[in-house]
Point group: C2
Chain length 310, copies 2
């Protein structure tokens, strides 16, 4: 997804928030905004928002000297999510369609990220999700929800690459990963995190503390962008990305970075930003399971239609 | 009120909106944002937001060639507000405390401005206000509401200066002005509008089309800032501002410009911006009638305590 002009006010909002979390003075916070302002005229608007965000977070690191302003928030998010893990498990166990519930919860976990960046009370929101009877997400919020394609791709795939989004949310990913492993023991699941801190994106330590490592191989994508920008990924990661039978991509950042990539991807996220909602053609706040497969290269198409990988 | 760092993202949001309303290409819209970005490092943060906004709207005018991008919106707002005028009048007439209802409606009219700048459905919101039984505004939204001081100042004052806010809202101001004139025929009311177009601020033609002129003298403050910035006002206006027995200031922009001024002012506005809500120490969306009189100069104090001006 390209960067829209509406993203510019948001870049400043994010920069100010990160500068404040860095604990610097008002004067230095202003300096961060001044430096970001000077970057704007040179921004290539054909790039995706995560590529721009990388420049901005580079400015923040350089100006404040703090390379990981969200560290404490990430730790708190992990703790909060782990505290509801037993209830999430129970919810999946008692569900009529356990895979569907696990998928819904994995997307609902994205609310933690929204809470970090907004005034939303995450604990109350999680309580609301957990108190719901059977269905986790209301039907009207699922404008794009390609669940059938997801379920059938899962059956066919041996190697699944799962792109992590944020800290805290990783616990919700674990729920889905465990559900997949429960019914498909032979599947190989690779969980990709970011290489270096950027915003509240999940790193290896977040995945480990969430208990992801027990069932899954954790790798790094090699990037420090809030989204898996392929041109910046490591060669090792790109090989896995290319060869995986199925890619599950979590969060808006990964959607922004990969929505135009030339392989099929299942995007799971909450449309929390009006620009993304407009791009995807869905409502703000919608729970999205979007299967992008229009630009599939031949090699993938053959695999999807019943290749040896089935 | 000084400008806060949180105002910067908002300046970009406003600049983009105005650039779009100017009807220019995406390339020119980007140029507007680039030019605004270049202004940021030089911004004096001791100035009020309307002073900054003046610089920004200057950039928009220079870059797009359109000096009044909100013209059509202003005309539509006036039309919409005039269409509900008879119902507003009836509401005041049937009220137990007609002055209170007129004050509440004058503040509620500020919702038109909010609708212009956000996605709110103004017509529905106005319907909600008009459908309310007797009380227009719920009590819990009136955290700061110095109505008694307002009522008694009104009784004591001969000359009242009323600072207009936006187009459309002027019709709601007319309701309050007519109510004052109804019970205090001898009062002289002066209604001050902006000299030149800036955002959707009311100009002389808006006041005239709202029917303000029938009961009131319309003057210009001399400014093209979205708020009455005294250092930029005309000498004629400043004389009136200084000598008036009572000043009624409408809207956030006028509060931002005048909150630190050295004369008593009654500020009537809806706290639609989180920065202002924080500054005033009220909730977002609150209906505010704030009497600022802490920095009153001697000459005003004597008048308030029963001078020949009573």
């Amino acid at each position: 997804m390209k960067t829209y002009l509406e993203c510019i006010p948001c870049f400043f909002k994010q920069a100010l928030e990160a500068a404040r979390l860095s604990g610097v003075s008002g004067k230095t916070q202003k300096k961060v905004l001044d430096e970001v302002a000077l970057c704007i005229p040179g921004f290539p608007f054909t790039s995706s928002p995560p590529e721009m965000a990388r420049i901005i977070y580079g400015v923040i690191k350089k100006t404040t000297g703090n390379g990981d302003p969200y560290l404490k928030i990430k730790e708190e998010s992990n703790k909060l999510a782990l505290s509801v893990y037993p209830r999430l498990k129970k919810k999946v166990e008692h569900s009529r369609d356990s895979l569907l519930t696990a998928v819904e919860l994995a997307i609902a976990g994205n609310i933690i990220d929204y809470g970090v960046k907004n005034t939303l009370n995450v604990e109350e929101e999680l309580k609301r999700i957990l108190d719901k009877e059977d269905k986790v997400i209301r039907k009207e919020n699922k404008s794009i929800f390609n669940y059938k394609s997801f379920r059938s791709a899962l059956k066919r795939s041996n190697t699944i690459l799962y792109l992590a989004d944020n800290a805290g949310e990783v616990v919700f990913d674990r729920i889905l990963i465990e559900e997949i492993k429960e019914t498909h023991r032979d599947k190989k699941i690779i969980y990709a995190v970011k290489e270096k801190p950027v915003i509240n994106d999940a790193l290896r330590e977040d995945a480990v503390s969430a208990g992801i490592g027990e069932k899954t191989t954790i790798i790094s994508s090699g990037v420090d962008t809030p989204g898996t920008v392929l041109s910046l990924c490591s060669k090792k990661f790109l090989k896995i990305f290319k060869r995986a039978d199925m890619v599950i991509s979590k969060g808006q950042g990964n959607f922004e970075a990969l929505s135009d990539c030339k392989r099929p991807v299942f995007f799971l996220f909450m449309a929390k930003c009006p620009v993304i909602a407009k791009d995807v053609k869905c409502g703000l706040g919608d729970v999205i399971l979007l299967y992008k497969n229009k630009r599939i290269k031949k090699e993938y198409r053959s695999r999807l239609n019943g290749s040896p990988g089935e």
